[in-house]
Amino acid sequence: MRLNYPSNVKIIKVPCTGKVDVIHLLQAFERGADGVYIAGCLEGDCHFLRGNLRARKRVEYTKRLLDEIGIGGERLQMYNMSAAQGPRFAEVAREMTERIMTLGPNPIRAKKGEAEMETG
């Protein structure tokens, strides 16, 4: 449908959101991602029966962990959408981008940026 969405969104493909591990999400933030979201099939429509439900639980766990870390769980989201929901995909990409814009950069990246400026 070629609906425009912000170019800062980049996709990593997994066979099922059930494959997404907590450490994948954490390391994305550790490496400086400002936000991460998981786009899974609609609940009840998982091709692998329960993968997207597991993913949701893991996302919830990781959000709490990110809160504890101080990065902010709201930088991580789980969305469900179907392959026929092109507009929804674009809307989510925009929604997530706006959310991250409001939150500002990942504090780790911000801190590292500062440090580099000081030394550089």
Partner: protein
Amino acid sequence: MNKEEIKNPASDKKVGAVMVVGGGIAGIQASLDLANSGYYVYLVEKSPSIGGVMPQLDKTFPTNDCSMCILSPKLVECGRHFNIEILTNTQVEEVRGEAGNMEVSLIRSPRFVDEDKCVGCGVCAEKCPVKVKDRFNEGLGERKAIYIEYPQAIPLVYQIDRDHCRYFIKGKCRICEKLCKNEAVNFEDTEKRYALKVGSIILAPGFELFDPQLKGEYGYGVYDNVVTSKQFERILSASGPSMGHLERPGDKKEPKKIGFIQCVGSRDLQAGKGYCSSVCCMYAIKEAVVAKEHSGEVEPTIFFMDIRAHGKGFDDYYKRAKEEYGVRFIRCMVSKIVEMPRTKNLRVTYINEEGEPVEEEFDMMVLSGGLTPSEDAGALGKRLGIDLNQYGFCETSQFSPLSTSRAGIFVSGVFQGPKDIPETVAQASGSVACASGLLSESRGSMVKGKEYPLETEVKDISPRIGVFVCHCGINIGGVIDVPQVKGYAESLRDVVYAEEGLYVCSQDFQELMKKAISEHNLNRVVVASCSPRTHEPLFQETLRETGLNKYLFEMANIRDQCSWVHMRQKEDATEKARALVRMAVANARLIQPLEELSLEIKNKALVIGGGLSGMTAALSLADQGYEVYLVEKEAKLGGVLHDVYYTLEGDDVQSHLREIIERVEADPSIHIFKGTMVVDFSGYKGNFETGLMVGPGMFYRKLEHGIVIVATGGEEYKPVGEYMYGEDERVMTQLELEKRISNDTPEFSNVYSIVMIQCVGSRTEERPYCSRVCCSEAIKNSLKLKELNPNMNICILYRDIRSYGLMEEYYTLARKKGVKFIRYDLNSKPGITVKDGALKVDIKDPALGEDLSLSPDLIVLSSAIIPKENDELATLLKVPRTQEGFFLEAHMKLRPVDFGTDGMYVCGLAHSPKLISECISQAYAASARASTILSQERIHVGGVVATVNGDLCAACLTCVRVCPYDVPVINEEGFAEINMAKCQGCGSCASECPAKAIDLQHFRDEQILAKCNALLEEAV
């Protein structure tokens, strides 16, 4: 492929190819099953792409699955299958010859775009100046004069609409031709005629929606806001003309009050449609529910005569629509619709249940149009010389529901009679079994195989990556600076070669790619172009041809995920394309070749249950050339069919049953085990092992087989304690009545009055499902009794009469013969008493609001169909059941006879209540599905599956518990083992393993993290 060429195999043998006519879901399913069991398939479709009606639907009942999402994988598989040749824009003209050896003449109308050259990039349509009302969106949207029907269309080839193309009308334009860098546009294309040889034909030409303009009182075509149900599907669909925003066509306002009128062109003798279309009640309920989900403000109302929710899980859906979604149901006929001139709202006049005329205003009205065979299909039927019934549906019989009157030509889907998607799919598979039974001697004779060079060893060799960046005409190149991305790719570590191409997917570029692979010793290939969904197999094929393992391939989707969606931010898009290529290369470095293990298959079948369904499946498998073990718990074959004597249509059931039993018992390929129980079970598709206790001696026997069909059947519920059943011998069930009618006709000369009570034990709190056959059963026995004694007073107490499909005619006939139908509500069930030795039935007629008292001689209970005791078997086989105890298929819509576990199937009453003809269709379907495995010599397993590193495993059982398919087990050495043949590759176990001992191949943690790191390389 040169289509003019006639395939000409040795003429004394049957032809190992089948033609499927119609590319809807039935045709697609039939083609896939045929091609996957050793037949070459010509899939003939009159329109430019396959898919039929399903792509137009938004959701499907009763699961609310997205229609396109569930169909799409089948479309793609069909499109890329070696042994399916899709012939679009093509119609069958004539068939000559005999079953097994037929010659089919075809006419192909011009597409004006070369199928071999068009890559579906869409630049032509983007620039085409002509806009045309879009058939796919039911006239609610627009497309161009050069177009594809919908984005996922297969084949993904554009087509010029000759009637609207500016060049064809005015003689100039040809913009598309100029823009197409692949020179695919061909204005000189012409109609072509040619012939093909096939062994059998499966007809699946589908249906059309009744044209509601024929019902002038509803104002369709006059009032803007009266739409057809199919138009409403498009309005609801996220890919529809309003992008899924619920709005009425007249003024784009969001409608609040939406009315649905049922039976528009169904159950309507005046309109010449004496049958029920079977699906409209459910699709209307679904549309009402989905509309409600779109906006809580919506107030849907359904005007209906009877709600026919007779399928698996349907009544529950109906109940939820009423109770959870607040859909309003009004039992009435709408007499007319008038548009309010100012608001464009619609004033609807109807007679309510109390018999009073009511006028009510709606924002929008949806007409639930009936299903009618298409005119083309009718004409086709005539050309082929097959019998059609008065409505134009293909004539079939109850005991051979898939055979047309012409040998070798089979039928499936709505062309055989109105039905829903799962029944259509079951029939499609079923017709495959019929064709396959006819042609089994020629199985494999026409399929194409392919030889590949030996795979190059790459395991311990450092990566040498080649990157190919596609311009996709101007699709990518017009936005992204492709040369710059290519240059960037060259700069990345381990990349030894990079190239760009106008269309990387084109045939000549494949040659270039192969050359580059061998000249530069590439051992990993990255293509930066479009979607792997459509193009990965093509490139993987190229890799295999050069001797590279097909998994040594990675795609960066810089079109769908980049140039198309960041069209106006060219610099950002180029930057993103660089990142996507960087990620793909990072992954490519780590990709490992994956081995696929080839396992031998046990070409024998196990059928559990020796009733009609089990026997039919066994016979069909035997006809297809497989050995069958048929296990029956009872001492004789036949199951519940022993209690059925005649069908509604008048067939003699017992003689059919005797014939089937004789055939089964005489078939040397069928090994029958009567009085036998299944006691253990293990294995996976192609290699199962089952232990039996064989009666009467109860000795143990172990069987090896490749597939399992579960056909354990059902039985009539004995409603002891309800309606005095078991207390008074004058109260009996329908089957008991049928037996008495058949054995002792004179008895009924003294019976003057009979009351039948429907839904006994069905649609209740305890058994919320509809038993589907009881309405027709009651009508059948009423008609039989009326035959015996035309003056007999018969009264049927019902909740909804569900004489779906062509059975509606018998309902009409029964009323004509004076059978009385009186409705009751669940909360005021008929009361039965005995007074002075006479039976008395008290009932409140909700239509008249009056209390009635009847004094029948006999009371007949239309009792529910319940599954045969099957819980132990379900546990042994590890297959799921519904709450009611029927076996649960893998997918309600598109996998009606498959279990979730590969190689296991279900059919007949064990699946849900159904008619004899439906059991037979399903049994054939299970047989065809089984044949897709049994016909293979070996199966290939592995690839993207989870593997365990035993050294790291703690045997903690996490994987065992997490796996949705129960695949992992802890082996004798004490670590988890995942059977490659069973693993579905979802990766749930890998992401949950606390010891990190499991990896999902091709998506190993290392790879995902490498991609993640590459993406963020420049972030921190």
